[in-house]
Symmetry: C2
Subunit: 311 residues, 2 copies
């Protein structure tokens, strides 16, 4: 028998991401021992019922004690207090990483509390669903997805390679980039789409001329897709907004500028301009399908009552 | 053998909607004869290859001649010219309807050309995908979806009932409402989501600080869902924007107002306000799932590599 990649992996937070990690770590035999910690007794009990770990603790420091890989899987707003809490028990040579959706703020919050000899390498798996909690996790979540690592200056190349190998063993491809660049990229591909989705669902909910029941009945025509994103965890997304403020505001202002111009084209009946924009955007979708990040099955949200007939 | 609901149904336009109608009409035996017309020889030939109709004509008037149900399935910007073209052959007692995504403009464009004795009843099936053309059609498209009819003053109740029965036979539930109200409802549930999706994909495509390949690689984190909507047919959506201008501009301005307030909350770090909005929007999604207009399967866009493990 080959020995596992890590002797002891500690997962701090056992929601969608922590639970999915626990399951893929188990499935691939990546750890000799999985220690699980979460804030609430209810979630901890559920994690234990699901058999996600080998040991369970409400005290994060207890879970981290002796671990050679520690992964923070809590909302980014909780990082600083968790980092302070576990600081005394982080052992030299251990890798400390995370799954948080922002990276600049994570470096700022955690870095000052990382003891000498501990390898702190922030990370972000670009994989997720709109669901949360330990029941939402599944081992294939990271399969065929990207994981971005944002090593800070002076990161040990061996530790970086070991963490990269870990993510590859979870099914992901690994990229590295600067924390700030990560935050800009994610602001446009993830944060802005979620904010816009939350916003449009809020707008629809507030209308007086169109009733809620009409919005719900006729949602299949486009709105539905936005409600999926807008059903994501409020704590996580509040923290993302608070922790990636600058990049989000930058992208929001670009978006609003473009929207104002589109609005003008509609107001003045500029069909050519509309047609041009609506044509250009098709290419982006084609590339995403070609890159294997989406299928071209149409209208994937609808309930299929029978297979599509095509000849 | 019972006789079919209509002796002869003419489909003008044989893209996603026309092709799906042809297939469900055939499957449910709703017509003695299906006559198909479309503008281009290529599309007509493809419709014939797929066996969608019983007769095929480039000349819409030829297809409409003798039909007791005529359904316009072309972009709404083409309605006026089609209505003029078929006017001489519309037979008294026939029902003329359509599938167009806007209704006020359709009444305006078609009404003046409807001969006495022909029952003109505008309609809109709230069902669709982002794909277009005859190959994209499938007979279950309308199943479990709503179809909105917007009868004009003086509409014959028997004709309205017959058209309603037709849509029910296609698998849909039928609602009736005023054309203007339809246009407001659809502006928020369909038109605004598509416009926003086109806009955000356009914004992402224009950035200098984030490359196109980054946008594509990391699209699984939210952006991807927008690209699906933004891959819809440009002609159809140009025509929707031009033909439902007022309601769209009204909804756009509400949306922008709300977005400005959300932007302020991000700028000032108002976590409570963000949390409140992000919580409120979850309820809308739950209602849509309960109404059977969506499944609660998570993250339906991703390529499943194995079934989700849940205990
Ligand atoms: N969801 C996604 O799509 C996604 C994708 C990539 C990355 N991420 C990132 O991954 C991390 C976890 O997300 P998730 O989706 O797994 O969240 P989740 O399902 O909501 O689980 C959150 C976990 O963090 C704990 N937690 C919440 N607030 C806390 C606090 N103030 N202090 C300490 N622990 C707290 C929860 O504990 P209790 O249940 O015991 O309260 C739970 O164990 C976040 O940083 C997020 O940005 C998420
Ligand atoms: N797609 C949806 O999700 C959806 C949902 C509900 C309602 N609708 C409405 O249904 C109608 C048809 O949409 P669709 O998705 O079926 O479109 P589609 O797949 O793009 O097919 C359009 C059809 O209309 C013909 N056509 C296009 N431009 C024309 C013109 N200027 N004059 C005459 N014929 C023209 C095309 O003919 P050639 O191919 O021969 O050029 C083709 O037969 C539209 O009014 C749309 O608003 C669409």
């Amino acid at each position: 028998m080959t020995s596992p990649m890590f002797d002891r992996i500690a997962l701090i937070g056992i929601g969608l991401i922590g639970s999915s990690l626990a399951q893929v770590i188990r499935q691939e035999g990546l750890a000799g021992h999985i220690s699980v910690s979460t804030r609430s007794e209810a979630t901890l009990a559920r994690a234990e019922e699901l058999g996600l770990g080998d040991s369970y603790a409400l005290d994060a420091a207890e879970a981290v004690d002796g671990a050679d890989l520690v992964i923070l899987c809590v909302p980014v707003g909780a990082y600083e207090s968790v980092a302070k809490w576990i600081q005394p028990v982080l052992k030299p040579g251990a890798i400390l990483t995370d799954a948080g959706s922002t990276k600049g703020s994570v470096v700022e919050a955690v870095m000052p509390h990382v003891p000498k000899g501990v390898h702190f390498i922030p990370g972000h798996p670009i994989a997720g669903t709109e669901q949360s909690g330990p029941d939402a996790g599944f081992p294939a979540l990271f399969q065929n997805r990207w994981c971005i690592l944002t090593p800070v200056e002076g990161t040990d190349p061996l530790a970086l390679e070991k963490l990269s190998a870990f993510w590859r063993a979870c099914g992901s491809d690994v990229d590295t980039m600067e924390p700030d660049h990560h935050d800009r990229v994610l602001a446009i591909v993830s944060h802005l789409p979620h904010i816009i989705a939350y916003n449009i669902v809020g707008t629809a909910d507030d209308l007086e001329t169109v009733t809620k029941s009409e919005v719900i009945k006729y949602s299949a025509s486009g709105f539905r897709d936005f409600t999926r994103l807008a059903a994501s965890d409020p704590t996580m997304w509040r923290d993302v907004c608070l922790n990636n403020k600058e990049a989000i505001l930058e992208m929001l202002s670009r978006f609003s500028e473009d929207l104002a111009s589109l609005q003008r084209a509609i107001r003045w009946g500029d069909g050519d301009k509309l047609f041009d924009l609506f044509t250009r955007t098709r290419g982006v979708r084609r590339s995403i399908i070609e890159a294997g990040q989406e299928t071209d099955a149409p209208d994937f949200g609808r309930i299929k009552t029978e297979p599509q007939s095509r000849s």
